[in-house]
Structure formats: C-alpha cells, structure tokens
Subunit: 225 residues, 2 copies
Amino acid sequence: MSVRQESQNGGLSTDLAYQSIRAQILSGELEAGAWLRESELATQLGVSRTPVREALGRLVADGLAKHEPNRGVRVEEWTPRDLDEIYDLRLLLESHGAAMAALNPSTDVAMLGRLASEMSSITEQRHPDFGRLTELNNNFHSGLLEYSGSERLVTVVASIVQVPLVRQTFARYTQAELRRSMDHHHEIVSAVEAGDAQWAEAVMRAHLRAGWSAMHRHLVASRAK
Amino acid sequence: MSVRQESQNGGLSTDLAYQSIRAQILSGELEAGAWLRESELATQLGVSRTPVREALGRLVADGLAKHEPNRGVRVEEWTPRDLDEIYDLRLLLESHGAAMAALNPSTDVAMLGRLASEMSSITEQRHPDFGRLTELNNNFHSGLLEYSGSERLVTVVASIVQVPLVRQTFARYTQAELRRSMDHHHEIVSAVEAGDAQWAEAVMRAHLRAGWSAMHRHLVASRAK
DNA sequence: TTGGCCCGTATTCCATACAATCGTCCCTGA
DNA sequence: TCAGGGACGATTGTATGGAATACGGGCCAA
C-alpha cells in the first residue's frame, strides 16, 4: 500500500476506473486471461469508455494486463517461471536497497522496528489476520527501499512486485516459516541500526530466498495435484 | 532499437503519435520542461486529440514525461542525481544479466562478437559515426540481456535506460576511453564464451562504471561553466 | 504602490458519435 | 460431410463537442 497506486495522473473518473479494475485483478475477482471489455467496465463503474480506456492503458503499462490489437485487453497470465524471474530481481534489487538504507543515517529505524513488532504480534495470535500482515509487510519492504535514497529503485521494485504479493504468501507458510520470516524483519532492523550494509543485504537475501522457497514448494505441490 | 519502442498496443494513429513524440523528446527537439499540448501535437501530426492523449499516457508511464493534473503533460527533467541512480541500477542489473548470459549455453557468442568488432572498426575511422555506434552498442547490451533468459530483466533495464543513452555518451569519450570501452565489449564476449559468469559480471561492472565516470566528468565540467 | 479578488481564456477531462477491424456463423458447392 | 467464402455482429480505434478546472491579467481598495 505504499506507493504508486494512488493517482499518478489527474482524471477523477480515470483514477476511479484504474483503482477499481486494478483491485478486481489483484483480488482475483477478474481471473487471468479474462477479457476486459471497455463498455462493460464503463457501465459497471458508471463512467464513459474514455477513462476506462485510459485506465486499461495504465494497467497494460504496469504489466497487469495485455493488449491484443483490435481484440481488446485481457488480464495477464503468470507462469511459475515468471515468479522465478520476479523473485530473482527482487533478490538483487531489494538486498541492494537494504544495504543502502543501512548506510543512510536518516533511515527511520524506529518506524521499521514498530512495523516488525506489530507483524510479530499478529503472527502470535490464534487466527492471524493475513491481510493486515501482508499490508504491513508491504509497508516494511517499501519503506526500507525508500530509505535507500533511490527513487527509481522504489518504483522499479514496485512495478515488478505487485503480482505475487496477492497470492497470500503468508497463508502458505508453516508456523516455523512464519516465525523465521518475522525474525528476519527484526534482524534487518538490527543490521540497519548498526549501519552494517553487508549484514542488511545478506539478511534480506535470506529473507526473500526463504519466501521464494516456500512459494516454490507450494507451486510444485499444486502442480502435482 | 532493440525492444519496447515498437508498437506494444494496437492503434495506428496512436503508434504514430507515440513514436513521433518520443523521437522528438529523445532528439532534444522538445526540451526538458516543455509542455506537450494535445491539440498542438494533434494538428502537427494530422490526427485527432484522442490518440495523442493515449500516446502521452504511455510516455508518462515510460517516465519520459510527467503529468500535472488539469494542467497537462510536460517533458520530464533530469538531474545529475537521476543519472547516478540510473547508472547504479544498470550496474546491478546488467552485470547480473551478463553473468546469467555467460551461464546460458545457447547465448549467441558469434553475434555478440560481430557487434563488438563492428563497433571497434567504427571507432578506428577518422570521423566515427557516433549515431551508428550508439545503435550497435544498444544492440550489444540488450542482446546480451536477452540471453540472460529473463524477459523481465530486459524490460526493466529498457524502462530505466532510455534517457541517458541519447546524450551521445560516445561523443564525449576521449580516444583512450573509447578504445577501452571497445575492449570491454570484446572481453565480455570472451568471458561469456568461456562460460565464466564472474568474469562477465566483473567486466560489465567495470564497463558501466567507466562510462559513468566519463559522464560524471562531463557533468561537473558543464556545471562549472 | 501593493495585495487581493474576479473574470476571461486556454486547456484538460469526460462523454458520445462515427469508422474500421476482427471473429463467427451460415450458406453454398463439391 | 467438409472446405471455403461472404456478410453480420460485436468490439476496438478515432474524432469531436461540451463541461470543468486552473492560470493570468486587470480592477479595486487600502
């Protein structure tokens, strides 16, 4: 919830359309491969086709949808290979960002620590609120990236990462994995607080790789069935 | 000329507008901060405002222009800091890509070698064709990236890199720097041919860092004037 | 002289009408 | 029965008109 899904361009109706359609894609309400018909969405949202077209263009640029000339726009489909590519890039970019944040004296360590703690306490409850957990996790990761000092790093990662986040990764974790993931967050905070770039980078690598591993295990399981 | 500037969506007029406006920005014909008026561009290109609006939206998504609500779109401005960020990311991503290409057995080493050779021969001429050199250089870099096997890596780098390339970096090089840059290309080919990922990665790092250094020298010089 | 308000103008933003294009279905003929 | 072709329908792509909004200049008052 951190960046880039609030209005980046002006139109009121355009933004409404963009937010709404995007939400429907990410929630799974619109499944992969489904057609995004301009007039249908327009009437559904109570606006004309023009802002819908504009919103669809942005979604295509985001990589969430695919344009087929003279045919229309449909929700992008994702293969396991795509997810591998994404995690590979996250590994590279986010660990780099963590290192830079550790070197940045104005990084708000306290805020990151609070996020990590709140996430921990959520996981200790009987029925964890995975939605809230995902939201806090996004805040943690993108917040850390912002302290890397590189605006582009934030936007690039945001443009890559949006898809797999929706898959409710946390809900797939075992209890041990969940706990380890939370521990990673605290360790990252410690590393940043210590100003130790290599430590921060290494923990972030481990953190993401662990997430990738859990996701991968689930993928092969679901493919087998 | 490698990727992502050919039509990614359908419209004929839309594509014309996109290509044309984009070219005007990259050539410097439209300078930073200039307003991109819909009707003006529409009449200039002989189309209506609608495809122009769509093209502007894509340019904003590309990061080449900036949208100001209810005011219009203007050409994005670039600070030296932006260029630093971009080179930082290129360093990270392209060196990683080079390493992966070295590990990929189906990488077309011969093609890369031909590109490197042709670039070398251009630089040895009395009046090198820097435009052609830039084009071949783009082909070399994006070609190498494609052999990394990660589609996303290609598109991500393409989305970041477009701006500084236009600044005719090669024309700023000293003779020695130009020669070193060409040598780097050949060395990268050797490393990839040897299947040595670490070698390829290291040379690519050096190659980009050298380019950054030359650009930086020029920036401080032009700022002093 | 200067600060603030009001209105005119230019421009975007949204809606709607029209044109072009593609897929599908039916019909025909072998 | 099946292959090929042509017209219909649905949907995108383009053009244009009208509503909303923000800037700039001029007027008024202190």
